[in-house]
């Protein structure tokens, strides 16, 4: 009697265990080429090829060869990031997102698969930023194709040429503010120290030895940890490293504190956000999309760096950056 009850209980638990994931994002944040091959014809799947000038591809590369069933959207030129209040590369507004997402045939029921070129960590960042944009706008089921187009090709799977058009839908975006940090939020963190700031840029940018034109000053936000987004990426396989390796790399980031990732313009930081929030389960994690471009715009905001006047001199003499 007891053993039958126990067996039933175990069976019920197992059934629940299998059923529960089906209700959530059943594909997970990362999908393999194999998974996509099996599901590409599913009715709710929309595959987005996001290649742009950033990966050296763009629409031309899409037209030459793309994953069958995928539609193209240019990450760089396709309105995924807009200029707002003189800060470039920001999250678009709600009406802009309605049009951008809906026109690609995506709504809340869609399972989106974001496909980068699969050639570099920065290219992966494009996918992470698109992923974040979709999620924050209210598309719950989003995945990135691990390895991108290059990974699909390496798996020996077929490609198609020409253009495929999306079937537009009506989409009503709602911004999930819990995933977004603004300048005011970061200012508050600096005084209250109640969150971890994560700088997703390579060490040279963090230290203030290098700078991009969009950012007015050298250095990082005081107190930020340097967690280079490229450190999550395995250049040999053009995929993210294993979860175990990712966990080791991020071990120094406290789990019990909220976190905010930033970079120059919110691109590399999207990778950090993706890894920490989506893969490693950091619950309270936001992306500061304005990043250093927004932060450094006001000379009164504090910035830390180890840049010296010798660095300045080298730059003046054309010997440095």
């Amino acid at each position: 009697m007891i053993s039958r009850l126990a067996a039933f209980a175990v069976f019920a638990l197992l059934a629940l265990g299998f059923a529960a994931p089906a209700a959530a994002n059943s594909a997970g944040p990362l999908v393999s080429p194999q998974w996509l091959f099996e599901h590409q014809k599913d009715a709710d799947v929309v595959v987005l090829d996001i290649r742009s000038a950033i990966d050296g591809g763009g629409e031309k590369a899409y037209l030459e060869a793309h994953i069958p069933g995928s539609v193209h959207t240019d990450y760089d030129k396709g309105a995924w990031r807009v200029m707002r209040n003189n800060v470039p590369f920001m999250l678009p507004s709600v009406p802009e997102l309605d049009a951008l997402i809906g026109d690609l045939g995506i709504d809340e029921t869609t399972q989106v698969v974001v496909v980068p070129a699969g050639v570099s960590p920065t290219d992966f960042g494009s996918a992470a930023r698109v992923y974040w944009t979709l999620k924050i706008a209210g598309v719950p089921n989003v995945s990135i194709l691990d390895g991108g187009v290059a990974g699909w090709k390496a798996a020996g799977l077929p490609l198609k040429s020409g253009r495929e058009e999306p079937s537009p839908k009506i989409f009503n975006a709602t911004i999930d503010k819990s995933m977004l940090a603004e300048v005011g939020d970061v200012e508050q963190i600096l005084t209250s120290h109640n969150a971890t700031l994560i700088d997703a840029r390579p060490p040279a940018f963090y230290a203030g030895k290098e700078k991009t034109p969009q950012v007015a000053a050298y250095g990082h936000i005081p107190g930020a940890l340097d967690v280079d987004s490229a450190s999550f990426y395995d250049d040999a396989t053009n995929r993210l490293k294993s979860k175990a390796e990712l966990a080791t790399i991020t071990a120094r980031i406290p789990r019990d504190k909220p976190a905010v990732s930033y970079c120059n313009t919110g691109h590399w930081a999207a990778t950090d956000w993706f890894v920490l929030h989506e893969l490693l389960g950091y619950k309270n994690m936001r992306l500061f999309d304005g990043s250093m471009a927004a932060w450094a715009a006001d000379p009164k905001r504090p910035i830390e760096s180890t840049r010296t006047k010798w660095d300045d001199l080298k730059k003046r003499l054309g010997m440095g950056s």
Binding site: D312, L313, R316
Partner: protein, 382 residues
């Protein structure tokens, strides 16, 4: 003289210039100018050049506050003292109104209290022992006096101690600065300042007459006063505040002490925003240091052009001791008194701040004592 020398044509014996030190001074100045210009700071270049010109002017005109005050106290001879006032009057014409009217410009102000009085008095003692004050030590050291180089070194040391003492002396109390333009407006303040200078000159001349001494400034003091007055305006324009000498010394001393492990993190003075930044930032971003460097090098260039540089012998030990003691005492006194003869007296009076005259009176009293102490070190009273 050997017969060999007598046979040499006269032209070869004529001194042209001490090329080594002239080029050293020019090269060092060029390097400093290059660094600040490459740093995008033309105003800093202006301060170095202004200081350089002041070094030349002080050297050429032998514009000594210390010696002229000593002559006034011992003999009543007031020419030099009054000549020094000319420079202040010319500077005041720019400083008083501009500091009142333009937000980026400020005068030299200081609270009135025990710190000012004790500091100025102590400085007065020191300047007569050392044989030079703020400007005097700088231009004579730059011009090749080893004795004044020693005084300068200990001026720097004394300044660090002064920085540590100042907050305690400030705590003894005092009154907020009294600035003429605050009460009389920019132009009323200027009139009051010039009137105070005229009154001082009149009283000083009266004392000179009573003692049967001269009170007319020599040509050198008049020309020097005018040129230095104009240079004061240039330095004020470039730096945004009147010429300051001793703050630079304080910064150098503290930076050197820090490299030897001295920790200033608990010193109140070094937690005030100005000193705090000066301690951590480059010395070439400190206005006072920039003019100091310029003046040292300008005096060096002028001296090297005029005669063989640093060709004198070292003075006797007692004299050097006076330089050491004088330097230490001036360094300490300048911090408490909010500057030296340049920063507190010239700067203060040229700004229309009452503390300038208080500093003058107390320093003159200190000079009286310092002069009396000179024989202890084998120095003459004259």
């Amino acid at each position: 003289m050997s017969t060999a020398t007598a046979a040499v044509p006269a032209a070869r014996n004529r001194f042209v210039a001490d090329r080594l030190f002239l080029s050293l001074a020019v090269m060092a100045t060029a390097i400093l100018l290059a660094l600040v210009l490459l740093d995008g700071q033309p105003a800093s270049a202006g301060l170095i050049l202004g200081g350089f010109a002041l070094g030349i002017a002080f050297f050429k005109f032998e514009f000594s506050y210390t010696a002229s005050w000593r002559r006034f106290l011992t003999k009543g001879e007031a020419g030099g003292l009054i000549g020094g006032l000319i420079a202040i009057a010319i500077a005041a014409v720019a400083v008083v109104p501009v500091a009142a009217l333009f937000p980026n410009y400020g005068g030299a102000i200081a609270p009135l209290g025990p710190s000012l009085i004790i500091g100025a008095f102590t400085f007065g003692i020191g300047m007569q022992l050392a044989g030079g004050c703020g400007s005097g030590t700088l231009y004579t050291a730059g011009a090749g006096s080893g004795r004044m180089l020693v005084a300068l070194a200990f001026f720097v040391v004394g300044s660090v101690f002064g920085s540590l003492s100042l907050p305690a002396f400030l705590a003894l109390g005092g009154v907020d600065p009294i600035l003429a333009s605050d009460y009389l407006g920019p132009w009323g303040g200027l009139v009051a300042t010039l009137a105070s200078l005229a009154l001082a000159a009149f009283v000083i001349a009266l004392v000179a007459k009573k003692r049967g001494a001269n009170f007319k400034p020599s040509r050198a003091y008049v020309a020097g006063g005018v040129i230095i007055g104009l240079l004061l305006i240039a330095v004020f324009a470039a730096g945004g505040h009147p010429w300051s000498v001793t703050f630079g010394y304080t910064v150098w001393g503290a930076k050197i002490a820090r490299t030897f492990g001295v920790d200033f993190s608990n010193a109140a003075f070094w937690k005030w925003p100005g000193p705090q930044h000066a301690l951590t930032d480059s010395v070439l971003t400190d206005t006072s240091s920039l003019t100091d460097f310029g003046m040292l090098l300008g005096a060096m260039a002028a001296a090297a052009e005029a005669k063989p540089f640093a060709s004198g012998a070292w003075p006797p030990a007692k004299s050097l001791l006076a330089a050491v003691v004088g330097g230490l005492v001036m360094g300490w006194g300048a911090r408490l008194g909010f500057g030296c003869n340049i920063g507190a007296f010239v700067g203060g009076v040229a700004s229309g701040s009452l503390h300038g005259w208080v500093w003058f009176g107390c320093a003159l009293a200190g000079c009286f004592i310092g002069i009396r102490l000179r024989p202890l070190f084998g120095l003459s009273r004259e």
